[in-house]
Symmetry: C2
Subunit: 526 residues, 2 copies
């Protein structure tokens, strides 16, 4: 395993270094990872800018092969990758094997998207030389990549939202070189994946600098990357504090750049009366599982349940509390996340009107364990305490109980932007709460009926991104094919010669992509 910074095709080391920690034991793991210097940041971006001039013009088949080869190289690492990721994250084997499948699946999905080619949104309006009073020129538009992208690895998905995760895959697919700032919690996992990308790049003769990865156990390298004039896009998945700090840096640049930060969400779930009446036991078990999945360390963890006071709700409360009490603690990703969860979940129980509904069991003999917590509060207390609207990252959920119908809507109106909002409802509920349900699209990027929000499908139709503060920009998604749109902008070509136009815009549609040609969609070669 390499422990130096990867700058283009070269590994370079510095004296300053750090080690990874196994959160389940607290022990240091193998490998001293070199902390990048300001010069390393400069070097990576200088190479990335040069690489961009070449990489943006590489044909779509070669780009697709490059992405597929990254997936193959990741699989080729074999068990070593899963074992190192387990040691660095505390996540179980099956979860990480699944996450690896998702990661390679994403790379292959973007390869397919790029190879098919229609994602560039080609639009052509041919010239009208006889138009009066003046002729109309030929104008053709498509999406082009913006330049080097800085991708911050996320702690909670050491594979799927990290070095070769959805951000890197979509940036490379768009035609943007990538510089990853490796997450300090899993540098070894990062090193293995970075080497896989390097191999795939070399195999496909990609320009030197199409990919780099830098380490840091603090904030200096990340800040330098975001402030660097050659950086054109930033992606991040993590805390509100971290995401907004990067956003501010990017906005203060001489040339501001977009920061796509996914900063979490309490993912409200509204439990409607008829559904509870029919199947409160089943709902309780389903939500106990969703809240504690992956120790609650998902961006879409349902941290807020909202329901109307009723005798059935009391039965649901007992069932949910009982279900949670049966669940055993799991290892948290890092000591910092663990401590933060413990503090915040304890603090929440000291807030006015908040009481404990159920608490999970603590595993013995392992470090960084936390107990799942379900608390409850009346809507009247919730509405006057903004603190209760904030995410507690981990296996925590708060049940907010409304005394009457209007209060239900008041609770929803008090919420900030969310990644998801869910409804648990039966036929009758859908009829009686139609407005409330339809207004959920105002606050969330994904609205869910009788499904849990955890488990984000990687598909064309996915929207993983909601209004601020769930993300810095709810108009974009970090999951699914739409993620490629974060790295591009449209350019129009006016009155150009055929041989100077990109192939996507040439007469005759040589790439056979979907294009809007004189207001008609078509994909035929002609």
């Amino acid at each position: 395993m390499k422990t130096e910074n990867l700058i283009g095709y070269k590994y370079t080391g510095n004296k300053k270094a750090f080690r990874a920690i196994d959160p389940s034991t607290g022990n240091e793991l193998d490998g001293e990872f070199s902390i990048a210097s300001a010069e390393d940041v400069d070097a990576a971006l200088a190479l990335a800018e040069k690489a961009f001039a070449v990489y943006r013009n590489i044909d779509k088949k070669t780009k697709a092969t490059f992405l597929r080869n990254i997936a193959e190289e990741i699989n080729a690492i074999g068990d070593e990758l899963i074992e190192r990721a387990m040691a660095e994250s505390g996540l179980p084997q099956a979860r990480l094997q699944g996450e690896r499948g998702r990661t390679t699946g994403q790379l292959n999905m973007f390869a397919d998207l790029v190879e098919e080619g229609s994602w560039v949104e080609a639009v052509i309006d041919t010239a009208l030389p006889d138009r009066q009073p003046a002729p109309r020129a030929d104008i053709r538009k498509m999406l082009i990549p913006m330049g080097p992208a800085v991708v911050f690895g996320a702690s909670n998905f050491p594979l799927a939202f990290s070095v070769a995760g959805g951000d890197t895959a979509s940036a490379l697919a768009a035609g943007c070189p990538v510089i990853v700032k490796a997450h300090p919690a899993h540098p070894g996992t990062s090193a293995l994946v970075a080497e896989a990308i390097k191999k795939a790049a070399e195999k496909n003769n990609m320009p030197d600098g199409v990919f780099s990865m830098l380490y840091d156990d603090g904030y200096a390298v990340g800040e330098a990357l975001v402030k660097h004039p050659k950086t054109k896009i930033v992606t991040f998945t993590g805390s509100f504090k971290g995401g907004t700090a990067l956003l501010k840096l990017a906005q203060q640049r001489e040339n501001p750049i977009p920061v796509f930060a996914e900063m979490g969400s309490v993912n409200p779930t509204i439990l409607l009366p008829e559904a509870l009446e029919c199947r409160y036991q089943q709902i309780a078990e389903q939500y106990a599982a969703s809240i504690t999945l992956g120790a609650g360390q998902f961006c879409t963890n349902p941290g807020l349940l909202i329901a109307l006071k009723s005798p059935t709700l009391d039965r649901f409360k007992n069932a949910l509390g009982g279900a949670i009490e049966k669940i055993t603690s799991a290892t948290m990703l890092t000591p910092g996340i663990c401590k933060n969860y413990s503090n915040l979940s304890e603090e929440s129980l000291r807030e006015q009107g908040v009481t404990l509904l159920g608490k999970g069991k603590l595993s013995e003999g392992k470090n960084n364990q936390v107990q799942p917590v379900i608390a409850e509060v009346r809507a009247s207390s919730f509405l006057v305490n903004p603190k209760l609207r904030e995410e507690i990252f981990g296996p925590y959920s708060l049940l907010v109980i409304a005394d009457y119908e209007v209060q239900l809507q008041q609770v929803i109106d008090a919420l900030q932007g969310q990644l998801t909002a869910s409804i648990v409802a039966d036929e009758g509920d859908l009829k009686t709460h139609r407005d409330l349900i339809q207004n959920l699209t105002n606050i969330a990027g994904r609205v869910i009926l009788n499904n849990v929000p955890t488990g984000v499908e990687v598909v064309q139709s996915m929207q993983h991104g909601g209004p601020y503060p769930a993300t810095t920009d709810g108009r974009f998604t970090s999951v699914g094919t739409g993620a490629i749109k974060r790295f591009v902008r449209p350019v129009a070509w006016q009155n150009w010669n055929q041989d100077m136009l990109p192939d996507e815009l040439k007469d005759g549609n040589p790439l056979e992509i979907w294009r809007l040609l004189n207001n008609k969609w078509s994909k035929e070669k002609s």
Copy 2:
């Protein structure tokens, strides 16, 4: 003509008022326009929020009829509109008649777009109940409107970028209520158009608050509108100072919102040797006309010409200088713009190395006239003086002369983001300068070959928006159908009943729009 603020369907007046000025005479015009209060801002936004809940769900045919009726009502005003706009802007009759045609054309274009319906980018992935290890839920995504939009009227297009201009048309088409902050230079023109929108809204039973318009001769109303928590989007066309001030306000909100500010550009034009050799006289005449069109008061005015030193260039310089000297001054839009132009163009001639190449004639007997100016400077001086890269709004252009080939690229590299970049080139030039030409997409939203940048076509393929500081967000356009994308964000529906889904996403494609259904594009009803 009404002179009060229009809040939904009601006109309300305040004591504080201002008058419009005829820039060609300096005289005050008829009408005391009421300055909006903080309460008016609140009232307009409260109504807009209520209207949004209804308006967003209005069927596409009704919305299209509403837009077409606005166009009809604008035409129905007749000569009064053109006469008032002439008096308030100093622009000639033919130009304003053309601009009215463009304005109604835009409204009708967005009506067609909305009626056709595919612009919502519907994507559907149907459920896979038998997938292993877990079933996949049905997920469907489309673009939805974000809420009330604040539109700032622009001074330089009193019709096409003002009350019922492209911003209002695209916002209403998207499903967003609009609050216009009328430009203080043409309140009477604004009043006439606002009344036309009101009539069309009433005729189509649009919800009260779908449109409001407020006056101010200062900054307080604009600031209050951008800071108001119910405002969700801001559009602006004007100065860098104005646009960035609004952006800052929007970023400092508790919930930041997007500001689409188009802030101008020097629109560089690169004149290559072979083209100059063949037709320097024609190019000189073409550019003299483009630079002085509308007194140079276009965002796409070619403010920077870049060429290589040569004997032919000297002939071109004489021809350009001569052509400019024949051109007579025109009335500037406002005394402020006039004064600013005079100051900045004079200052530029005092900068190190800058010399005058030609100056137009001054009209007698009219106020607010300015002389067109063509200046020249060597690239070596240009490269060390950032001030020379800034736009001088009006009929001014600077010819930058490179001593050698590499300097040409250096000049381009020194430029900031631009709305447009143009190349004047013949076959041989295209071959010898291929890289230089292709890299122009890095700095501009529209790249033009052997055409002037003025004259922005309103078509699907138009991109009117370039990298910062040309606009606050070069990923969007303010002209053409793409402008609708500024007012929307995607939402995904997971596992919903058919009757709760928007029509755009229902099984069987009842609206017959283009949809990506299980990775295949289709528009058939089924």
